[in-house]
């Protein structure tokens, strides 16, 4: 039993750190650190830099352009990227649909889509949730009827994250309405330019346009866009959700956010005293840092257990709950560290192209809005209550 990284892993960490030092654009890192809203171009710029190094699709098999990194190396990479202020990768293409295509797709699908994802030529979004299918995802109603060599898709998807940037969407659709819930679902790849698709923005409580509604009105999708077998889409959906959840603990992100919290709490003063020197506030930070340490240790234990190719089981549900709660708690303290300075809602200062003088401080504009935005963490990817159901069923067998 040894909690230390091996010399090889430490060397890898240095290599990643050096790469980030040389290649991560300073303006991107600054915008990430300050919690600003990144533009599509910001994401794509970083994706292309990573891809040039061969470090974009790290979870893919080597033959498709991925890496042969161990789970521990991937953890180190994530942690270093977050610490340096690299933008969090938008997962829908590279880390969600791609693993499904690699696992269940045809050779033609792999040959066509994977290189386009690597080169950032496609921006994918996820068509899972519907107005009547949130936590109860399998009750989705969007229909896909076979019409010759096409499917005719009708229905509505919602909470489609960054769908406004996307040229492609992967969808769960119902292909057999007579089958039991999970059994009549298929996994379809759809071109967003297809006639009959309408995207409407949903503005969230922090004023941000991050999610959308997507409407399908007699959208014709070629049958070769089906992934896996017809009516077996739930298998793909579950596979993807496990991938989504691993990494949802967001340890690296939380560490970076905690460091930023300490910066804010050091800079903000009340009657000449730093917030971080106020014993009560300092104890709150200490408590979070200890909890983060505990979740990190648990993550490392799970990673170590999956090192030889194992798949994290329901443990990933525990990490999703704990990780999301910590990130929310950190933004809670950031907001509180600012006192009344958290109140002004200065949308221009939240954008990544803001270059003016901040009304107060560069760090003060985003914490309150981040706090509200990150309420999503305990809702998406299977709400934290759904995760508890999973634990009760799979771990506790209740």
């Amino acid at each position: 039993m040894d909690i230390h990284f091996t010399p090889e892993e430490l060397a890898f960490r240095s290599e990643v750190r050096a790469f980030l030092g040389q290649n991560l654009p300073a303006d991107l890192a600054e915008n990430v650190r300050l919690g600003r809203r990144l533009a599509k171009e910001d994401h794509q710029r970083w994706q292309k830099i990573l891809n040039q190094k061969g470090w974009y699709a790290v979870n893919w098999p080597v033959e498709h352009g991925g890496t042969d990194w161990s789970v521990v190396q991937k953890h180190i990479f994530d942690e270093e990227c977050a610490a340096a202020g690299a933008p969090r990768l938008v997962a829908f293409g590279v880390n969600m649909v791609a693993p499904v295509i690699i696992k269940f797709g045809t050779q033609t699908q792999k040959d066509y889509y994977l290189p386009r994802i690597l080169r950032s030529e496609d921006w994918w979004c996820q068509g899972y949730s519907e107005p009547g299918a949130g936590s109860d995802l399998a009750s989705l109603k969007t229909r896909a009827e076979r019409d010759g060599d096409h499917y005719l898709v009708n229905g509505q998807k919602t909470w489609t994250t960054l769908g406004q940037h996307a040229n492609r969407i992967f969808c769960l659709v119902r292909t057999d309405p007579s089958a039991k819930k999970q059994e009549g679902i298929s996994f379809l790849l759809i071109d967003m330019d297809t006639p009959g698709i309408t995207v409407r923005p949903i503005i969230t409580l922090d004023g941000e346009h991050e999610v959308n509604e997507v409407f399908f009105d007699n959208v014709r999708v070629p049958v070769e866009n089906l992934v896996g077998e017809e009516n077996k889409g739930w298998t793909c959906a579950k596979y993807l959700l496990t991938h989504e959840r691993t990494g949802q603990a967001g340890i690296g992100q939380s560490k970076a956010a905690l460091a930023h919290l300490k910066q804010i709490a050091s800079a903000e003063t009340v009657a000449g005293q730093s917030r971080i020197d106020d014993p009560l506030f300092r104890a709150r930070i200490a408590e979070l840092e200890m909890r983060l340490m505990a979740v990190e240790m648990s993550t490392l234990r799970i990673l170590a257990a999956t090192r030889d190719g194992g798949v994290p089981g329901a443990e990933s549900s525990l990490l999703k709950i704990q990780g999301s709660e910590i990130r929310q708690a950190i933004t809670d303290l950031m907001r509180k560290a600012l006192g009344p300075n958290a109140l002004p809602f200065l949308e221009p200062e939240l954008e990544s192209d803001f270059h003016g003088e901040p009304l107060y401080q560069d760090y003060s504009a985003s914490p309150a809005s981040q706090y509200f935005n990150l309420r999503k963490l305990s809702i998406y990817g299977g709400s934290n209550e759904i995760q508890k159901n999973i634990i009760a069923k799979l771990v506790l067998e209740l």
Partner: protein
């Protein structure tokens, strides 16, 4: 990074687990508890025969030379069985102090007998007004011809009634600092008042009325015991985390079984989502406690550093919070039966809560961590 036990460690864990399972049924424990010693000398003898009492002691003193990881494995099983023997206080905490501070003669004369389970030690470092701060004690050591005279009152010395030697912490009357003295409890002027603690093990209060101790009973340099006390309390904290994890695992197991068997409203109560979610939360906290206990075990023997202190404080904090949650919720989920003396769960609940009253509770360790919090340079300059 490797969280696997090696073959030897797995064997050690299995050995203790088996011994506890065979010897320490809950009914047996109740018999041990009611007996005059308050624990089982027979079980202690078995621990010693199997070499378990020697695990924390260095090989040069006829010990097994175990690390924090071996201590963790032993303590977890003792915790699972709610064992009443003073293993932590004698074999880990007190023996660690002797090993760290003692002269070659002191170590040679004491530790082999401790390793063999023949000589019990304990530490008298708490007083009415110290509350986990050994540096705040008032007991005094006054120099006299060829030794010292100790005066003061010590509280809640775990295993103190039967210890052959008690390490007494006392403030030096002629200077700064705290010293540790090896005290023979039979010495003139020592009186002990024994009692059971609410969570099972026995302890005593110790009154010292001008007790003469010889010059060579001083452990380590005069007035300089505080760093060793802090360091060894860190090792004790790591071991105690493991004890709590063993107890939590058992309380959790009992509760899960109960949810699957207890019928109300025509179904097992584990079908109810409110209870399922509470169990899921408990499972999550237990997992964090396990992780931090492993971390504590791995750093317990590291050289003293702020990083070690932070990690041990974080471990005790995490485990104390989890212990209280699991104790309270296990009782709640059991309903009335969880409150009865005749059911082991209630005793796990008591143990889990009261373990936090030794070596610092969650607030104490939050304070420790907070004081050691790493802050950006800008702020530390402002502090200075």
């Amino acid at each position: 990074m490797n969280f696997e036990l090696n073959e030897e460690q797995q064997m050690l864990a299995d050995t203790v687990e088996r011994l506890v399972r065979n010897t320490y049924s809950f009914e047996q424990r109740e018999v041990f508890y009611q007996s005059p010693r308050g624990y089982s000398p027979e079980f202690w003898r078995q621990l010693s025969e199997l070499g378990i009492t020697s695990v924390p002691i260095a090989a040069e003193y006829e010990g097994f030379g175990g690390t924090g990881v071996e201590n963790m494995l032993v303590m977890k099983e003792l915790g699972r069985g709610l064992c009443l023997e003073p293993y932590l206080h004698s074999q880990i905490y007190a023996a660690g102090l002797v090993e760290q501070l003692g002269s070659a003669e002191q170590r040679q004369s004491i530790l082999p007998a401790v390793a063999a389970g023949e000589r019990l030690l304990t530490v008298a470092d708490e007083e009415a007004g110290s509350h986990y701060h050994p540096e705040a004690i008032e007991c005094q050591a006054v120099p006299c011809e060829r030794g010292w005279r100790l005066s003061g009152r010590k509280r809640v010395v775990i295993g103190g009634e039967l210890a052959h030697t008690i390490l007494v912490a006392a403030r030096m009357s002629d200077g700064e600092g705290v010293s540790l003295f090896l005290l023979d409890p039979g010495a003139e002027g020592v009186s002990r008042t024994g009692y059971p603690c609410i969570d099972g093990p026995r302890a005593c209060d110790l009154a010292l009325a001008d007790v003469y101790v010889e010059a060579d009973s001083l452990l380590g340099p005069a007035g300089k015991a505080a760093p060793a006390l802090a360091y060894q309390r860190g090792r004790a904290v790591a071991a105690q985390c493991a004890e709590a994890v063993g107890s939590m695992e058992e309380a959790f197991r009992l509760t899960l079984d109960y949810l699957k068997t207890r019928q109300q409203f025509g179904s097992p109560i584990g079908r109810f989502q409110a209870l399922q979610h509470r169990m899921a939360e408990m499972r999550g906290e237990l997992e964090l406690a396990r992780s931090m206990t492993i971390l504590a075990a791995c750093v317990a023997d590291d050289p003293d550093s702020e990083s070690r202190s932070r990690r041990l404080a974080a471990a005790k904090f995490t485990v104390a919070r989890a212990s209280q949650l699991i104790a309270e919720q296990s009782v709640q989920l059991h309903g009335g039966i969880g409150m009865t003396w005749e059911y082991s769960l209630a005793h796990h609940a008591k143990r889990l809560v009261m373990l936090t009253h030794q070596f610092g509770d969650d607030d104490f360790h939050l304070g420790q961590y907070s004081a050691l919090l790493e802050v950006p340079r800008q702020a530390s300059q402002q502090v200075a």
